[in-house]
Each structure stands twice: as C-alpha cells, then as structure tokens.
C-alpha cells in the first residue's frame, strides 16, 4: 500500500514540476532550463518570508507572485529575444538564467542545507495505512492545478487564444491576436508555476540553491515526451514516476534517477513526436 501511495506521490511531484516547463515549451517552443533557478527562488522566497513572520501558505502565495514578476522581467529582458532561435540557443540562454538565479540565491542565503517545517504535520490514514498528510496534500494540489489548467485551456477566452497561437501563430497574429502578449502571459504563468512547485516541495526535502536541478531532468524529459499536450504530460510523468518508484524499491534512488533518463531517451527515439499527438 505504501508503495502505491509513494508511486502516486512520485508521479504527482513530477507532474507538479513539469507543468511550468510544459506550458512554456508547448506554447513558446522554448526549453526553459531557468526552471531549476525559478524553483529555487520559489522555495527560498518562502524561507525568507517565514523568517519575516509570514505563515507557510501566505508565504507560498507571495513567493509565487514574486516569481511571476521575476518571470515578466526575464521575458522582457531575454526570452522575447529567443523566439525563432534554435533550441540549443534557448537551452544555453535559459541555463544561463538558471545559473544567475541559483547563484543569487547562494549569495543571499548561503550554500548550506536549510529545511522548512511541514505546514500540515502528522499523517492521515488512507486505504488502511497511515501516510504523510502533506504529501497527500501535494497530490491534491497537483490534481487541482492540472484540472484548472485543462479547464483554462478548454473553456476560457485566454485558453482559446493560447490554442490558436499554438496551432498557427502567423494566422493568429493576422486576425488580430497580440501573440507577443499571449507569449508574455504564458511565460509569466509558467515561471509562477515553476516557483510554486519549488515552494510546495520545500517541506519534503533538504533545501540547497541547486535544489531544482535534480528534479529538472525528469521533468524536462517528461515534457519532451508529452507531445505538448496536458494528457501527454500526465502519461509521461506516470511512466517516468513508475520507473523511478520501481527502481528505487529494487535498487537505489540514484540508479532510479538514471533509469528515468534512460527510459525517457529510449521512448523519445521510438516516438520522436511524443506520446500524444495534437489533433490537427
């Protein structure tokens, strides 16, 4: 039973981390390696605000909002100059942004490992076994976020515009959609989601400035595997999460993280377009 719950939590965490990357890649065709830096900003924002006396949840909200502003600045200074450039260029530039963010965090907070108190301590009994309440809350959070994102894409005006820009950008611009604005909003939302993921995962592990990097690789690969669709992200995270959980049980976590990458690379060779296709 624990195994099952661990699996669900692993998949949720991966999805949570992948969401921010997914919308930025899906819509803007930018592989945002600054994701790792934004996650660090998100979690250290919470640490700083808690030191000022804020509660956990309000700190998470404020930290996410701060990252959204940061995302707007990054988009304005750098990202908008990368549209239409090759993927290796965007990888380098966003990795540079990530270094800047991570090093800024190190300059301010130092390199030692910090910890956040779990805001919802204790466990609850699920399916007959006691389990960490906060981890289960993370699952709920992920489900809510995914549903909200899906609903936004499908039912709102913004979602419609986003889908139009995704499927044919010049045409969308031609009928009067401000595609630059749509991209800007997308990047800001993506950056906020990255920071939110970073902040929410804070209480579950030791926090160092590099803390997003370990989670970046699987999330990045999951997004590439997703075929740029929300269900694709879920399927990819399920496959990689399953691999991670299974290998961790039988061997060890380090080998598991290696296996996740190997599985993703093999799947990407068999299905270069991703697991789920856009209906054209």
């Amino acid at each position: 039973m624990y195994l099952f719950l661990d699996l669900v939590v692993t998949i949720s965490v991966m999805t949570l981390v992948a969401l921010g990357l997914a919308i930025i890649l899906g819509l803007m065709n930018v592989i945002n390696l600054a994701h790792a830096g934004l996650m660090a900003v998100g979690v250290y924002g919470v640490i700083a605000l808690q030191r000022e006396g804020f509660g956990f949840w309000s700190a998470v909200a404020l930290s996410t909002a701060f990252s959204a502003v940061l995302g707007a600045v990054m988009e304005w200074l750098v990202i908008r100059r990368l549209y239409g450039r090759t993927l290796d260029d965007t990888i380098l530039a966003t990795w540079g942004l990530s270094l800047i963010l991570v090093q800024s965090v190190s300059l301010i907070f130092g390199r030692s490992t910090l910890a956040l108190d779990v805001p919802v301590p204790g466990g609850v009994e699920v399916l007959g076994v006691p389990y960490s309440a906060y981890r289960l809350l993370l699952v709920v959070f992920t489900v809510v976020l995914v549903l909200a994102m899906g609903a936004t894409m499908r039912f709102t005006r913004l979602g419609l515009k986003v889908r139009m820009v995704m499927s044919n950008e010049p045409l969308a611009r031609g009928i009067g959609i401000n595609t630059n604005r749509v991209r800007q909003v997308t990047f800001i939302v993506g950056a906020a989601l990255s920071a939110l993921a970073g902040a929410l995962l804070g209480p579950t592990q030791g926090i160092t400035p590099n803390y997003g990097s370990g989670l970046l690789a699987p999330a990045f690969l999951a997004v590439l595997m997703s075929g740029k669709t929300l269900p694709g992200v879920l399927i990819a995270c399920a496959i990689l999460g399953l691999t991670q959980a299974a290998v961790t049980v039988f061997l060890n976590p380090v080998i598991a993280s290696v296996m996740v990458v190997v599985v993703a690379v093999v799947i990407l060779r068999i299905k270069p377009e991703g697991l789920v296709w856009q209906k054209s």
């Binding site: 290796d88 260029d89 942004l97 800047i100 090093q103 190190s106 300059l107 190997v262």
Partner: protein
Amino acid sequence: MAEELKSPVRRILLAAAGAALVLALIFAPDMAGEYRTLLLAQALIYAIAAISLDVVWGYTGIPDLGHAVWFGTGALAVALITGEVDASGMIMQTSTSPFAYIGAAAVGTIAAALLAAVVGWYACTRKASSFYIAIVGLALAFIAQPLYTQFPAITGGEQGLFGFKYDAISTRAWYYIILGVTAVVLAVSIVLVRSDFGTLMRAVRDNEKRARYIGFNVEHVKIAVYAFGAAISGLAGALFGSMFGVVSAPLFGFLFATEMLVWVALGGRSTIIGPFIGAIGLSLVGSELNASFPTQWAFLVGVLFVVVVVFIPDGLLPPLTAPLRRLLLGRGASLSAGSRTLQVDESGWALPTQGQPVIAARNVEFSYGALKVLRGVDLDILGGELLCIVGPNGAGKSTFIEVVTDASYSLKGEVTFATDRDGASHGRLEPDAATRAGIIRKFQIPQIFSSLTVAEHLLLAGLNGRWPSVWRRTHAVKINKPAADLFAATGLAGKENVRAPFLAHGLKQGLDIAMAVNGRPKVLLLDEPTAGLTTNERGVVGEVLREIAGLGITVVLIEHDLDFVERVADRVAVLHGGRVLETGSPAQIRASEAVKSAYIGQAGAATDKEPAGHA
C-alpha cells in the same frame, strides 16, 4: 584587383598577430610563475576541448550537450590504466613509465571516440529529429555524474580519483607537451574545416535534407564528426588526467559541458580560432576569480551565457575581425569565400538503354493518414525521354515523385528501377542511395546551403555521395558538360565564389538544377524547375533540358505551364485524382477531351464520387 593588392597586407597583419600570440605562448613559462604556468596549461587543455566542440557544433551543427562526458572518459581512462585503485577508491600506486601514460592517453582517446560512435549511431536516425542527439547528450551529462558516484571501487565515488599524475617531468616540460598537442589539434582542425570534407560538414549543418538528396549519407557524416570531436575531447581529458592526476564526477557533468559551449559561443562558432581564444581567456579569468569569489564567478558565467547567446550570437571574434577585414578588403569582401574555379569534364557516363522503362510504377497507392493521395498509379518512364507530368493542384504529382524516390514511405503497389546498363533492376531506395544510383531529384523551391559558394555546391553535388578528402581542398571543381552548359545558360558564370544566399531567385533555380545534373544522373526528376522564372529564363532552362535529354538522360518534369510542356516534352502524363488519366504526345494530350474536362472539373467529379479515405 583590390583583393589581390590588399590581401598581402591582411596576411601580414594576421601573421603578425598570430606570431605575437605564438611567441607569448612559447615564452609564457619564463614570464609566469609555476602556478600561472599550470593554469595556462589547463587553459590550453580546455582550448583543445573547445576546438573539438567547434568542429562538431559550430561546423557540423550537432549540438553536443554532452561534450564533457568524452573529456571525463579520457581522464578516467588515464587514472585506471596508470594507477592501481584499491577497494575504497584510492589510488595506491602509479606507473612510472611514460609509455604507460602515452598508451593510456591513446586508450582514453579511442574509448571516447567509440563511446561517442555508439551514442551517435543510436541518436542519428532518419526518423529522429536532428535535435534528438542534443537530448541524448544532455541526458548523458545528467546521468554521468550520479552514475559516477555509484562505483567507488572504479571511479573513487564522490571524491573521485587523485594522485595519478605523471610527475617525472617539470611543470615547464608539461606545459610544452600540452602546447605542442594543442598546436597539432589546432592545425588538424583548421585543415579539416578548410578541406572538402569541411565543406560537406557545413552543408550538413545548413541543409541536411539537401545534403541527403545530393547523395550523402548524412547520418554517417554526423556520426563520424561526433566521434572525431569526442576523440579530441577525450584526448584533452587524458592530458588533463596525466598532468593534474585528478578525475571526478564534475568533469563529466552538464555544468562543464555548458561551459565548453560558452567558450565556443563566446569566441565565435565555426571559426576554430575563436573558441581557442575564448577557452583560454575565459578559463584564465575564471581560475583567477573562481579562487577568490566562486559564487560571484558562477553568477558572471550565467550573465555571460545570456549575453553571448542573446546579444552576440556570432561570438566576439567575428565582430572584432570584421571591421579589420572591411578596412583591408573593402565592403562586400565577406561575400566571397576563397577562390575556386570550374573545370569542365567532357567525359560522359553509362546510361540505361534508351526507350526501355527505367522506372516502372504499378498500381501505386499512397495515403497521408486518412487522405488517400495516390489511388493506383500505373506509369512507365522510358530511358532517354523527357516526360512531363501535368495535372491540377492536388493531383498527386509531387507526392508521386516523393514516394517513388524515397523507400522510407510505405506504399501499396510496385515500383522497379532499371537504371543500370545491364538491365538489372532494383526496388525503391532511400534518397541518398537513390541519388548514388543515378536517380536525382530537385525540389520545387530551390534548396541551397546558406554558407556555401556556388562552386562548393557543385563540388559536393559532383561527388555523388562519395566522401570528400578530409585534408585536401579542391581548387578546380570538376563539372560535367551539361551542368556547365546549364551554368553558363542561366547566367551563373563569374559567380563561382558567391555565397548561394546572395544569388537572385532565378540563379538559385539554375544552381539547384546544375547541382542535380552535376551528380551524373541517369534519371533526373525536377519539380517545377521553372517556377518563379521569367519567360526568358524559362526558354533557356527548356533548351538545356532538351539538350540533357538529348544526351540520353531521362528527364521527368512536373510542370504547370502547358505551353512550356508542349515545347519541351517528348511525352506527357496527366495525373488526376491520384491516377494517370492519360499519356501521350503533347499534341495528343492537348486534343484529349478527358484531359480538358479534368482541368475543368467534370472528370474530377467522377473520381470524387468515391468515398475519400476508403482504402
């Protein structure tokens, strides 16, 4: 004239700058202390890695995000061969023989090359996107580091291995050894990128598809370059290991790999010298700053990444040298690259028997998903004829040519080629193999290589898929008679050394057709070669095509301009609704009622009654 007069001045200036750099490098150990000499040696080792990355990434366009992995492999090989590791991952004893180190460096180089060849072979496939190899490299760099720490008995685990350096010689001697190797690598790389093979590398970078359609197995080229780059990076790693006696997980890691990319990007991609200087400069500054302000330095590296990629994508070297070059050579000098001449080769080549079918298509059916494009095409293309395929838009003309010349499409029906003189036949081939077999295509929109000159295009096309020399640079490019005629007729003469993007549209079309012809085709398949040309240019192209057919080369044209068809064609095939509606002489086709109604739409109505997608 201006170029001839002024280029010695430029050469002298460049030579002076080069000599100053060389002298500085030679006398550096006398001026710098022991510690600085070590740092300089390290910078040179990094420069070797940067040069190799430039060959792979800058010249061939393969984004090798795992270039550090090969470096680490070289260093680890030296540690394992020259040192004895105990169970806890400590080096207990090291070899004292210099030959052990030389052998270890060779093994490290070869191991890195083999590893990269396997990775390249796995990652470079026709189906996978050309970016897949970047993902694989990124993945390698991501997993190499954690994996490294998992095997302490071999790799020393978290701490890595240390204390296996070759210390029988002084730092000064080490410095000169490394300087020597750097000079050799630099020279080899410059010769390589200036050679005909270097031209092929740029062609693959600029337009992979076109490189394939002039007969090159693009995957093999990429794998070879990838493995070569890895070998040099492995050699750099082996030098690093031998001199400093350290290997640890970060040498394999993504951070180091990205640093290499920045050396190359900062110096200037595809310049060789730029990455060389970039690596030396950045690693010297880096080791000074890193010692006292590690965090601030990493921050600066991040800023540098962003600034270089976003604001100076060409790197520092081209903007620095361009004004100098403009000053010395005058404006527009950068448009011409080198001076190649064309040499007409009068010899012909073996052609299939005239009048016999060279391509026979039987009941060919093909669908794009649910859209059925070809509904049973029966067509014989005869040796030496000039066949025009006409038909309304959407009739399946281009699709027919596409799927018949590319075996990677799966279709129903049968296609046989009898292009050999002895009449031996074969089925469909992959595009590069088809070109090598003499079945050569030209696309509707001119496909050119953006960094190659006109002569370089013809040089590569003339090789028909054979690999060019990796050291020789051809100055007199061989061009066959019909290609030369086409060249002259379309007004390309005198533009041999102009880079192709600077040609007018009509000249690009002319160059594209000349490339196809220079590959010694037995069957030439041209998709609307006159699209976008003036009436005058059309006339010229038409005459040359007649001449080519007159030589016995089979020419297949897709055409919309029926007047043009009437003037040039021996035979016309009308494609409509995915079937051959009629074949015959231009006059017969013009008179045909069926064809008229097809264009107007009545015969179309008949075929449209069939349910679409009913396969």
